[in-house]
Symmetry: C2
Subunit: 352 residues, 2 copies
């Protein structure tokens, strides 16, 4: 698989056709026994680890049809594109030699090598599907563990660079689309409740990022003292509760103030179609409203997929890849507006 083929595949993370829960993701952190963890290793050790891992990983079934490269073979823009597709962390993108990325053909599985840990395995599925994502990842994890020895302590579990990952090494997260809770000013309350339940809630691009486009990521905070199954079960219960709250808020607003909701969505469409300068932040917020409007029946069903693709295509690196050159922030805002207008033009406008 070439890089171009990889890029042209719609990322699994953005195939969210569900109403509220867009995607479910599982990440596992693993390290090799008998080697320094990446943060403490010398260049030579890192290269040795990479060789060892590469040998084992390139024999995995997903590597046969997927994409596998060492980081030093990427251009900086290509790395940014993969970050925007949620296949690579910003941290890995800042690295080069001795680090690598394997992505399966469907982009539903990714393995980062020598990021914070020797292995960061990731599986993504659309909708509320943490169990399915975990099963897919567990399979790859088992395949690797048959070839390589993981750093493991019988008291603590898997050992990781950061103590917050020790134990299962698992971070299970769910991306939620909560526009109606935002519109009805209930979102703060929900966020508070979630953090009291020992779960973390964050914006679109993970830790430390602001929420964009009413997208929220919910994940487990602790990895110790609970089994993978227990963690996943807890998150799914909370997510189902939030999803119901969001659906109720949509229904309630729709019943009580139908024209208010339609006005919001329809204005978002008008701005997206006619703005000449659009920031990433504003675009995502407005696209979020179109997404909700599609679920409410204001737009044809196909609009949803268009929104999914746009969410990725309007990111900085994607815009520059498309333009074939480096663009200033202002040029990106112009290019973004153009792409969005072009995409919306071919879809019918909002109808009540």
């Amino acid at each position: 698989m070439t890089f171009d083929q990889l890029i042209q595949t719609t990322p699994a993370v953005d195939k969210g056709t569900q109403s509220v829960v867009l995607t479910s993701r599982i990440r596992l952190a693993r390290n090799l026994a008998n080697y320094s963890f990446p943060g403490w290793s010398t260049k030579a050790e890192r290269a040795e680890v990479y060789q060892t891992i590469q040998k084992a990983v390139s024999k995995l079934p997903i590597a046969q049809t997927g994409f596998f490269e060492e980081l030093s073979n990427y251009e900086s823009l290509q790395k940014q594109v993969l970050v925007e597709q949620h296949l690579m962390s910003r941290e890995l993108a800042s690295r080069g030699e001795g680090c690598g990325l394997l992505v399966n053909k469907e982009k539903s599985l990714a393995i980062m090598i020598n990021e914070e840990d020797h292995f960061r395995l990731q599986a993504i599925h659309s909708g509320l599907n943490l169990k399915k994502a975990y099963r897919a990842l567990d399979k790859v994890d088992t395949q690797i563990s048959k070839k390589l020895d993981f750093a493991y302590d019988h008291e603590l579990g898997f050992l990781t660079s950061c103590p917050t990952n020790v134990g299962t090494g698992m971070r299970a997260s769910v991306m939620l689309h909560l526009p109606a809770l935002g519109l009805t000013d209930q979102i703060e309350q929900v966020l508070k409740a979630v953090s009291k339940l020992g779960l973390a809630i964050r914006g679109f691009y993970g830790e430390g990022t602001e929420s964009l486009g009413d997208l929220y990521q919910i994940s487990n905070q602790s990895t110790l003292g609970e089994s993978e199954k227990e963690i996943i079960g807890r998150i799914e219960r909370v997510v189902k509760y939030i999803a119901t709250a969001e659906e109720n808020a949509r229904l309630k607003t729709l019943q009580e103030e139908p024209s208010f909701l339609f006005d919001k969505v329809s204005r978002a469409y008008g701005t997206l179609r006619y703005a000449h300068i659009l920031s990433s932040k504003e675009s995502l917020t407005l696209i979020s409203l179109i997404r909700m409007g599609t679920k409410l029946g204001y737009f044809p069903e196909a609009t949803y997929e268009r929104c999914d693709n746009l969410t990725i295509e309007i990111q900085p690196a994607h815009l520059q890849l498309e333009a074939g050159k480096k663009l200033s922030p202002h040029e990106r805002d112009l290019a973004r507006a153009k792409i969005i207008a072009r995409n919306l033009k071919n879809l019918s406008g909002p109808k009540l």
Copy 2:
């Protein structure tokens, strides 16, 4: 002329096809000698004055083809429509028996009877045309003065109910459209300069109203110690200065930030076309941007006239007249958005 015919004529005040100076208006205050002024007169006196004036005025040439009614013959909605067309003051609209309105066929001349003064004569012309408006009004004034004696003092000039009108009894005003001075934050400075020159500057509906849609009315503050010609000359000089400032601001913005201006205008179009709920205030502000955009060549020329008509058609009384029933503020916001969208749909969108 029937009321329906009157309503269907586009008001002269809104035929502003000029770029910056939309309309010029002259108003003269006159009172009959030997009668109490309206504020001090009894009901019987007011009726007697009305009879006297009616007899004289109905013989005027403009009365032959125009519209002339006593206020008690109007429905409240009809009065509101005339207020929105700038043919009747809010003050006159609140009155009934013993008060009247005469409007000529072209709506360029109006005579209010028993408002604050016995006579309030008004002439409107498009563009910067105070002299032409004054000549038209002076002609009617002379015709009336041949039939009736005005209250006049050889020291002071014409006597009026409010001392601020004594002398010429004239208020000359010009409606300016100043969006670029607003966008470039120069408007406050201009407003200050104008008031230092002894002129008043006010919003869309005259004294005490906020500026809407970047429309400003400039008029003389004093009526005493200067001839009509001097007052008009002074206003025209100031207005020409402001118009140049506005035109320069448009050019400068267009040269330095062309995409900024186009973005502003194009977004306004998007919102007007797709909003489902539109207040009067927001509509006027956005229509103002479309107006400017038309002058900048973003829209076909015909858009300008469409904006002129819309400015009137979206006013509360006009919306209710069109709907044929009383509408709540929310219903008006819905109806307003519908009318605007329908009007813009048939015109081509913004083009850079």
